[in-house]
């Protein structure tokens, strides 16, 4: 992305974060706001129309997987997302926010996994879980510096069908001490999973010595200590109060 677009994105991300948006979502919207005006301003309306004409997620995914067309595909993706209903848009926004932070050789796999998770395009949970597990496996083979985005994305995609595996991946994320834009979301997801009741057991390999409520409280307090004014801090404090109460009751 150009420096100008980067600055515009950063500004819009700040506004998004200030509005309480999850940082990942704020980043994606910031990109959209920064890129779309540039796309329109680059030429006559036909330029924007050319970007939209023939766009479809399968084509976009294929172009994302190709390093030569990835940049244009990112723009097309953001334009296409604007047309989606919220329940689908959030999934694709997650991908859009992650593309620049993914290892280049994993972008295609990530995009494909997201495509399989889109309920409009694929209703096969087996293939969806398989694709998400491939992402997980790829993440675990990476150097830690390259892991966080893939771990978080894989966990998100696994959650509906394999919540235990999703919890494990998120725990790995937290154990790795990662501090990406998705960190807050990961903390909240782990805390909620721990507080919602018995830990999911499907394929779960993660074993914690702590009682669930104690673990939830610990990760929430660590999060708050590091980012007391994070947009998700009020939710973290609410969950922490639940964890304290659950811990006292045990």
């Amino acid at each position: 992305m150009s420096t100008e677009r980067t600055m515009s994105t950063v500004s819009n991300v700040g506004k998004g974060v200030a509005l309480g948006l999850a940082p990942a979502l704020a980043l994606a919207l910031g990109m959209a706001l920064a890129l779309f005006p540039s796309t329109v301003a680059a030429g006559p309306a036909a330029a924007a129309g050319e970007a939209l004409e023939g766009s479809d997620p399968e084509r976009i995914v294929a172009r994302l997987a190709d390093a030569e067309t990835r940049g244009e595909a990112e723009e097309e993706l953001l334009v296409w997302i604007r047309e989606l209903p919220p329940e689908r848009a959030s999934l694709w926004l997650r991908l859009a926010a992650a593309v620049d932070r993914l290892p280049p050789d994993q972008v295609g796999a990530a995009a494909h996994a997201v495509l399989l998770s889109d309920p409009v395009f694929e209703a096969d949970p087996v293939r969806q879980v398989a694709a998400a597990r491939e992402l997980r496996d790829a993440a675990l083979e990476l150097h830690p510096s390259g892991q966080p985005v893939l771990l978080a994305l894989a966990a998100h995609l696994l959650e509906p069908e394999a919540p235990g595996e999703a919890l494990d991946l998120r725990r790995r994320y937290l154990a790795g001490g990662f501090e990406g834009p998705e960190a807050g979301e990961v903390v909240m997801a782990v805390a909620r999973a721990l507080l919602d009741g018995p830990a999911p057991v499907d394929g779960s390999t993660g074993v914690s010595d702590e009682a669930p409520a104690d673990e939830a409280r610990r990760i929430l307090e660590e999060f708050l200590e590091g980012a007391p004014e994070h947009p998700m801090a009020p939710e973290a404090r609410r969950l922490r109060a639940l964890a304290v109460r659950a811990g006292e009751g045990s």
């Binding site: 708050l224 590091g226 007391p228 404090r237 109060a241």
Partner: protein, 415 residues
């Protein structure tokens, strides 16, 4: 002069003159006023020194700079400012130039909340804020009072209790509800267990136990109907003011002339409401919320007090907001002409006193009218207030001022 006065506080840890402190501002810059009290309570509970800076930045706290306190503040969402020795000296100099005073907060008070062991269909504002602020407390009820266990505590809270034994006169509206039937059964069993003929007699004995607690040096904080009914119960020992549904007998029609107000803590000369069909206790309450004479709510204004000349009253009114929207309770506010002389009015709206403090024997009491500062028209069965939505509640701050007040050690005034 300011330094000469300040030194006794610092001399106990001389090296702290050069150490950092944490200032907890309580003006509008504070992110969570209510949990700031909880943070301060936690500090003194762990034996650390804390100061309450009366009238400085709306009642700021000065805490030692410790890693665990910084962490706790971050976790709770309480805004703190690191201040070094020079900045603390500047603060003390500023205070010396104005009507401000630093009060040392010592041992954390042991807190008891009087509440029945069932689950009433309405929330208690005090337990809500204690839970929210993370301040520990224990619950007591009639048995603990009658067994003489109140001296185990420093601070006792009463809320929407009816010490006249008339179940808040809810009989007409809620007689068939499970919770009221359970309440009647529980109270009747308690009366039988302790050998009282009826529930009003039981509750009067409990009121006497609470009075003894205050006279012996305890701190009493009462809200809502507990304020009015406690004194009505105490004053009516020689007569009968209760409706027949409570004790099977009609009330004494001359009860008003037989009330012994010398036994009461705050009130005098009130006219008890003897009619069972009128949901009010007496003319102490100015708003009569559940009657045809219901008065509309307004706002009440806090008085200002000299932190040096009247540190107790000053502590109780520390706030970042001087005028607070009123809120109903079975007892909403107190008629000024029903207050005994010698009590200190802390907040009022005209002749309606909202918040009042006084001494009795070795102890003291504070009465605060209304049920929930952030639920102006609370109804039976309403969901409890979510304080995470009201972290800066001025009305709730007044409750918490009373929590810390027993921990304070005001400087002796120079004569």
């Amino acid at each position: 002069m300011a330094l000469a006065v300040a030194l006794p506080i610092l001399s106990g840890a001389g090296s702290h003159l050069h150490a950092q402190h944490l200032l907890v501002p309580m003006d509008r810059g504070q992110s969570d006023h209510l949990r700031a009290y909880g943070l301060t309570y936690a500090v003194i509970e762990r034996g650390e020194a804390a100061e309450w800076l009366l009238n400085f930045r709306d009642g700021a706290f000065l805490l030692p700079d410790r890693t665990w306190i910084r962490r706790e503040a971050a976790v709770l969402g309480v805004r703190v400012e690191a201040v070094d020795g020079a900045e603390v000296a500047t603060i003390r100099d500023t205070m010396a130039r104005g009507d401000m005073e630093a009060v040392l907060l010592e041992a954390a008070p042991r807190i008891a909340v009087y509440t029945p062991p069932n689950s009433p269909p309405w929330a208690d504002a005090v337990t809500l804020v204690l839970e929210y602020a993370g301040i520990p407390y224990e619950t007591v009820w009639d048995a603990e009072v009658l067994e003489g266990r109140l001296p185990d505590y420093d601070w006792l809270h009463l809320h929407h209790e009816d010490f006249t034994g008339q179940y808040s006169k809810f009989f007409q509206a809620f007689a068939a509800t499970p919770w009221l039937r359970e309440e009647v059964a529980r109270n009747t069993e308690m009366a039988e267990r302790f050998g009282y003929d009826d529930v009003p007699e039981l509750k009067r004995a409990v009121a006497e136990g609470i009075r003894s607690f205050v006279m012996g040096g305890g701190f009493l904080f009462a809200m809502c109907s507990a304020t009015e009914t406690l004194d009505l119960a105490l004053a009516s020992h020689g007569t009968d003011i209760t409706a027949s549904f409570a004790n099977g007998r009609p009330p004494d029609p001359d009860a008003a002339s037989r009330m012994d107000w010398d036994r009461a803590l705050a009130f005098q000369g009130a006219q008890p409401q003897l009619s069972a069909s009128v949901n009010a206790f007496s003319d102490i309450d100015t708003h009569q919320v559940n009657t045809s004479a219901r008065r509309a709510l307004g706002s009440f204004a806090l008085f200002e007090f000299s932190a040096r000349a009247d540190p107790v009253a000053a502590m109780l009114v520390q706030n970042h907001q001087a005028v607070i929207p009123d809120f109903y309770g079975l007892t909403t506010a107190f008629a000024a002409d029903r207050l005994k002389p010698g009590s200190t009015i802390l907040a009022r709206e005209g002749n309606r006193v909202k918040y009042v403090h006084g001494s009795a024997g070795e102890g003291s009491w504070t009465f605060y009218g209304g049920h929930d500062p952030e639920d102006a028209e609370h109804q039976v069965g309403d969901a409890p207030t979510r304080l995470e939505l009201h972290p800066n509640s001025a009305g709730y701050r007044l409750i918490l001022n009373n929590i810390l007040f027993p921990a304070a050690k005001p400087r002796p005034l120079k004569t």
